[in-house]
């Protein structure tokens, strides 16, 4: 009996305990550092008024009266002669452009991601499980690697243009254009959209579709009216996350964009490098306010999508077989994926195995040999590949261990009814909405430099936090929102009565969660876990700060260290990153699969 008592007690405590732990983690590793940056910066003088009225930042919104007048003039000209009237050339400003490219990127990611989800969820083909596991792979690639891969694949002298020229077709000029930036953003984010949507697609109730069909609805109508509403929340989650990530995008824009395509975050980065904290904080605060507002609006929408349904996944069709319209569509999707995902990664692998010589490229293992040599002969203050790999894996596992439970608990909280629920939910999503540079800076000031606290009877003590555990905590803070965003929409559509029955039969809330709800949202948990691991492996800004001067560097830090005038060493390390992470994803998925039933 005592055992059962202990288990009962533990179960009653575990959810609130996890919630408390989550709050503490967020406080120390996110809210405190960010508050420190904003506080100091506003001390130095932030100038919201100056920024919001500067045409450089807000474009035509800086002079609303004039903009309106021009629009009215256009309207009257249009009424008089529609063919001649010219729409006024409004300047978007820095914020406007950032939002514009984020919107296009979200559109592109959805346009690419939803068809990918269709293939993953509805078709059967050898290696499907592996393909699904590897969807998070683009997410871990450091931006310098994406830049190298994209330049090699899509540059004017790249693979794509080489093939087009060989076929006698005209070249496409993509380098230093907005199109390439959006393509790179889609490279990063379409897999996210695909994974979230596929998880939802695999959890819909096909009986409702069958019912619709028996009632006379044609397949397309049935899809539009029955399946689509069940998918829409997940698609929109993916679109929203993509928008926010691309809104805060900086590294890709820095590498692949010309000067005209700077985003707000690039400006923040420059301001921080110039130690101009006032300006950096002003811009970051506006960014954050906008992102949080967007998230809040979305979460309110998501809350209204509560539709109770049971999970009855659709059957899968073999991908290879007789030609049908749906198969043709699937093959087309595969071809596009090969172009957008496989080509850049293949280019990266190619760069790591070749070196430019007179007349072309020669195959060489020299870059990998460098990694081996560095591992064997490095000094203590130099970065070693194996240590980086080991750290990345350890931190990734640690991050999973922390982020998954926290993410699930917060997903449960978000599906409960209480006042201000959506505000709490939005605040829990805050790590996504704040500039990574500001968080990094806050971690440096608040944790690495340390904070003085007054301890009674001892006096003031400077507490510093850095090293391995700090890195894991920072990763977990950045990763748990993924788990929440993957799990919450699915939790929200679960039948309430399942949980209520369990509680009525005596199960604690925790028991009901573990035994009933989680298995039903397992694919969401798994997707969230995969991305949480990906976030941890690919994280750079916070890691490089917290690991500074210690041996806690990870693979992205190693790649950055190996970046030099010759790209070989960095690309070789990048391929190692891809291989190690790919294997980890497959392992996570297989492990997760054991818990599925």
């Amino acid at each position: 009996m005592r055992n059962a008592d202990l288990t009962d007690a533990a179960e009653r405590v575990v959810l609130p305990a996890l919630g408390g732990f989550a709050a503490l983690l967020l406080l120390v590793f996110f809210y405190f550092p960010v508050a420190e940056v904003f506080a100091r910066a506003f001390d130095e003088g932030a100038s919201f008024a100056a920024v919001l009225t500067d045409e450089f930042y807000v474009g035509f919104l800086a002079h609303p009266g004039e903009a309106l007048a021009r629009f009215l003039a256009f309207c009257s000209a249009f009424v008089r002669n529609p063919l001649v009237a010219e729409f006024p050339d409004y300047r978007l400003g820095l914020f406007g452009f950032t939002a514009y490219q984020a919107f296009l990127s979200a559109l592109a990611s959805v346009a690419l991601g939803v068809p990918m989800a269709y293939v993953l969820a509805r078709f059967e083909f050898p290696g499907r499980e592996t393909a699904r596991s590897l969807t998070a792979l683009p997410f871990v690639m450091p931006s310098i690697m994406v830049a190298v891969g994209f330049i090699a694949a899509f540059g004017n002298q790249g693979f794509l243009n080489g093939v087009l020229t060989a076929l006698g077709l005209p070249k496409v000029e993509l380098l230093y254009t907005l199109k390439l930036i959006i393509l790179a953003h889609a490279f990063y984010n379409a897999p996210l959209v695909a994974r979230i949507t596929a998880a939802a697609w695999e959890s819909i109730d096909t009986r409702t579709v069958e019912t619709a069909r028996t009632l006379g609805a044609r397949p397309r109508r049935a899809f539009r009216d029955v399946v689509l509403p069940q998918l829409l929340p997940s698609v929109l989650t993916g679109a929203l996350l993509t928008f926010v990530f691309c809104f805060l995008s900086f590294a890709i824009v820095l590498s692949l964009g010309g000067l005209e395509f700077r985003t707000v975050e690039v400006w923040v980065y420059q301001a921080v490098n110039d130690l101009d904290y006032g300006e950096a904080a002003t811009l970051a605060a506006i960014e954050t306010a906008f992102s949080l507002l967007l998230m809040y609006a979305y979460l309110r929408y998501e809350a209204r999508q509560r539709a109770a349904s049971a999970v009855h996944p659709p059957e899968r069709i073999p991908l290879f077989g007789s030609v049908t319209p749906s198969r043709l569509a699937a093959w087309a999707v595969c071809a596009v994926c090969a172009l957008v995902f496989v080509l850049p990664m293949f280019s990266m692998v190619y760069e790591s195995l070749t070196t430019p010589v007179v007349g072309g490229d020669a195959v060489t293992l020299r870059h990998y040999a460098f990694l081996v040599e560095r591992q064997a002969t490095a000094y203590s203050f130099q970065v070693k590949p194996l240590t980086a790999i080991r750290n990345s894996l350890l931190f990734g596992a640690g991050c999973l261990a922390v982020a998954v439970p926290i993410g699930i608990v917060l997903a449960v909280v978000s599906t409960r009814e209480f006042r201000g629920r959506k505000v709490v939910d939005t605040l829990a999503m805050a790590p996504f909405a704040v500039s990574g540079i500001v968080v990094g800076l806050g971690l440096l000031w608040g944790l690495v430099f340390g904070t003085e606290i007054t301890v009674p009877f001892v006096g003031t003590v400077r507490v510093t936090v850095s090293g391995a555990l700090a890195v894991v905590a920072a990763h977990a803070v950045g990763a748990y929102p993924f788990v929440t965003r993957n799990v919450a929409p699915m939790l929200a559509t679960l039948d309430r009565s399942l949980v209520e029955s369990a509680r009525a039969l005596g199960a604690s809330r925790a028991r009901a969660l573990f035994d009933i709800e989680l298995p039903l949202v397992a694919s969401g948990v798994l997707a969230g876990a995969a991305f949480a691991f990906a976030i941890s492996v690919g994280e750079f800004d916070s890691t490089v700060i917290l690991a500074s001067g210690t041996n806690s560097y990870t693979m992205p830090v190693a790649i950055e260290r190996f970046t030099g005038r010759r790209l070989g060493p960095a690309t070789a390390m990048g391929c190692v990153l891809l291989a190690v992470t790919g294997a980890s994803f497959v392992a996570i998925d297989r492990l997760g699969g054991h818990f599925d039933g």
């Binding site: 533990a10 575990v14 305990a17 996890l18 120390v28 310098i144 830049a147 190298v148 330049i151 540059g155 790249g158 820095l254 590498s255 692949l256 010309g258 000067l259 700077r262 420059q270 490098n273 110039d274 070196t355 430019p356 010589v357 007179v358 020669a362 460098f370 560095r374 000094y379 203050f381 130099q382 261990a401 922390v402 998954v404 439970p405 926290i406 440096l444 000031w445 430099f449 400077r462 510093t464 936090v465 555990l469 700090a470 894991v472 905590a473 573990f514 989680l518 490089v544 500074s548 001067g549 950055e560 260290r561 190996f562 030099g564 005038r565 010759r566 060493p569 960095a570 054991h594 818990f595």
Partner: protein, 347 residues
């Protein structure tokens, strides 16, 4: 069953992963802590860090501890601004632009004075390498910012050649990167404060301004453009690989190159000023200067460095060295950068 156990275990593990606190690192009496930027000691091609440590440890009864920081000098400026102590003794890899920034950001100096005359080897320093009039930084080596181009496509010899050719110049952002900024200063030096924007007007069509130097060089390696603003020591790297030399021609427009000198200095509050002094003097030894120049790929700061005969084959120096004084930069660099940004954006 398994699932529940796993979740319990995971929850417990998560609860146990509370961040650890650590005290500030303490060094023992005979360790000299030298901070620097990462590529000074940890570059993929070659760096002088290991050699310097081995030699210093051998010649002195002390241990050298390198502290590579991605935050570079900004890390210490921020520590000083926040009133947090600085543990390092020396910083290696200080450039003139850093001094300008330190002066703008801090009231109390970050480094203490080390007059070249107080060092035994100080007399061998090249006169024009002494870029710190306040005698805090001892120069240890340098290079030049110059054009690197593909001689089979273009042969730019003057600024006008660069502007009038049909080919593209890859230029890392002049407001944020070293190479870009120095090219901007070169044009200001050549065309004057009133005329340089006209030159940039002409240049606008064939320059691609990239966000950072790494991506620009990646594009250059992929033959996306035949010209890039880089360093005059480019051929040293090229010769280490098999890259065709024709793509790594060093060019000085109008015979000019911007002088890029790095040095080392003692932190103001170091508790080992004499050992630090010994270290600075050690860096100026002829054999150390020679090795540093070869490993860090640059030009020695002293006149008597024991360089091998064939070293100068790949190291180019311009006829005219462009350099701006610290005072002129402190006064004007901000204005010039803003002017340039606005002119460029409105084009």
């Amino acid at each position: 069953m398994q699932r529940r156990k796993f979740l319990k275990g995971a929850g417990a593990a998560g609860a146990a992963l509370v961040a650890g606190c650590s005290g500030a690192p303490t060094a023992d009496d005979n360790t000299l802590q030298v901070a620097t930027y990462p590529s000074y000691v940890d570059a993929p091609s070659s760096s002088a860090g290991g050699y310097i440590k081995e030699q210093f440890d051998e010649r002195f009864d002390a241990t050298l501890e390198w502290i590579p920081l991605d935050g570079e000098l900004n890390h210490f400026i921020q520590r000083r601004q926040q009133g947090v102590g600085i543990d390092a003794d020396v910083y290696a890899g200080i450039r003139q632009m850093d001094l300008v920034r330190i002066e703008q950001e801090l009231e109390e100096p970050l480094f203490q004075t080390t007059a070249p005359s107080s060092l035994a080897n100080g007399a061998n320093l090249k006169d024009d390498y002494l870029f710190d009039a306040d005698d805090r930084v001892i120069p240890t080596g340098g290079s030049y910012v110059s054009l690197v181009y593909d001689e089979e496509v273009v042969t730019p010899e003057t600024y006008d050649d660069i502007a009038s050719t049909d080919e593209t110049l890859l230029l890392p952002n002049p407001t944020a990167t070293t190479t870009g900024r120095m090219f901007l200063l070169m044009t200001i030096n050549q065309f004057g404060e009133d005329g340089y924007l006209d030159y940039w007007d002409r240049l606008y069509d064939n320059v691609t301004v990239t966000g950072d130097w790494g991506a620009a060089y990646a594009a250059y390696e992929n033959e996306e453009a035949p010209m890039i603003m880089s360093y005059s020591t480019d051929q040293v790297y090229a010769s280490q690989g098999d890259s065709p030399m024709s793509r790594h021609q060093v060019g000085f427009p109008n015979g000019q190159g911007y002088s890029y000198i790095g040095g080392a200095a003692r932190f103001a509050n170091t508790d080992k000023p004499e050992l630090a002094n010994d270290f600075l003097n050690f860096l100026l030894e002829p054999d150390v200067q020679a090795e540093m120049a070869q490993l860090n790929v640059g030009i020695p700061a002293t006149t008597n460095a024991a360089l091998p005969e064939d070293y100068s084959q790949y190291v180019y120096e311009p006829e005219t060295t462009v350099r701006f004084s610290k005072e002129r930069l402190a006064e004007n660099l901000g204005t010039w950068t803003t002017e340039w940004s606005q002119a460029f954006a409105s084009n």
